[in-house]
Subunit: 139 residues, 2 copies
DNA sequence: ATATTTGCAAACCGTTTGCAGCAAG
DNA sequence: CTTGCTGCAAACGGTTTGCAAATAT
């Protein structure tokens, strides 16, 4: 809920404003992966007094606080908008339907393990990764 | 070699110009993953008569012809430049050193297999994927 | 001869930022 | 009261594009 985010704001000494409360609510209610335009659209539906600059600032803030995750899925249209989702306890990756744009979340610990192994094989410690699968629905 | 690219140009009815020959040469000689600025820099060293607009048009052309692959690695600086490499017969993924920016190529057929399995589990056919590992060197 | 490609500069698009006013603490 | 936040509009950075001149075929 938004109280979760409010708590994090207080913790980090950030002020809780009407705009942040609304944007936080929109994000915690989303179960898709909206871009800034879409977050802006949904936020202004609740409170028309929100500018897109504030949405940009807020998602960046939340991302830096570890509240949000930013994605840059490849999409037919070639548009390059970042998309966001609440950071979850459980890490997951994404399967993107290239036709509809639908995004399916999944987790595979076998792959995660192999990723660690590969990284170590080359003398590295894995600090982050990005894995996106692009598929078409089988009829 | 550049004759490889020339052949593909002819095949697709594209004209072979001095600029394309130079850009093709730069790309086939690169064993890193240069961005457009860098391809431009290397190209103008060979022939100063090349504009960056032409480099942009040419890498796009080559990419659409399947000659090049485009990457958008996440990088500390936050800069968002696409980087390119010759498409190879053998598919591979990338391990990026987050400190130095160095890029290591690897292939793991076990992971590839698992990616197919996951995609099928959700009723999809895998048409593309992107996997990037970000690591720090172990001292 | 003609269709394609080029260089230039202007436009583009998503995102960031400087600033003056506003609101949270 | 002070500090941080907002809205606006202008700037940004990487990339694309319209156009007239140049070039490949």
């Amino acid at each position: 809920m938004s109280s979760e985010i409010e708590r994090m704001c207080i913790e980090r000494g950030m002020r809780i404003t009407d705009q942040r409360r609304v944007i936080a609510k929109v994000l915690s209610q989303a179960n898709d992966h909206p871009d800034v335009e879409e977050v802006y659209r949904r936020s202004t539906e609740i409170d028309s007094n929100i500018s897109i600059a504030t949405v940009y600032r807020t998602v960046r803030l939340f991302e830096e606080a570890g509240i949000l995750e930013r994605h840059e899925f490849r999409v037919e249209s070639g548009e390059n908008r970042a998309r966001f989702e609440l950071a979850t306890e459980m890490h997951h990756d994404h399967l993107i339907d290239v036709e509809s744009g639908e995004v399916i979340e999944f987790h595979d610990s076998e792959i995660e393990e192999l990723q660690h192994k590969i990284t170590e094989k080359y003398g590295y410690k894995l600090v982050d990764h990005r894995m996106e699968l692009y598929g078409v629905k089988i009829k």
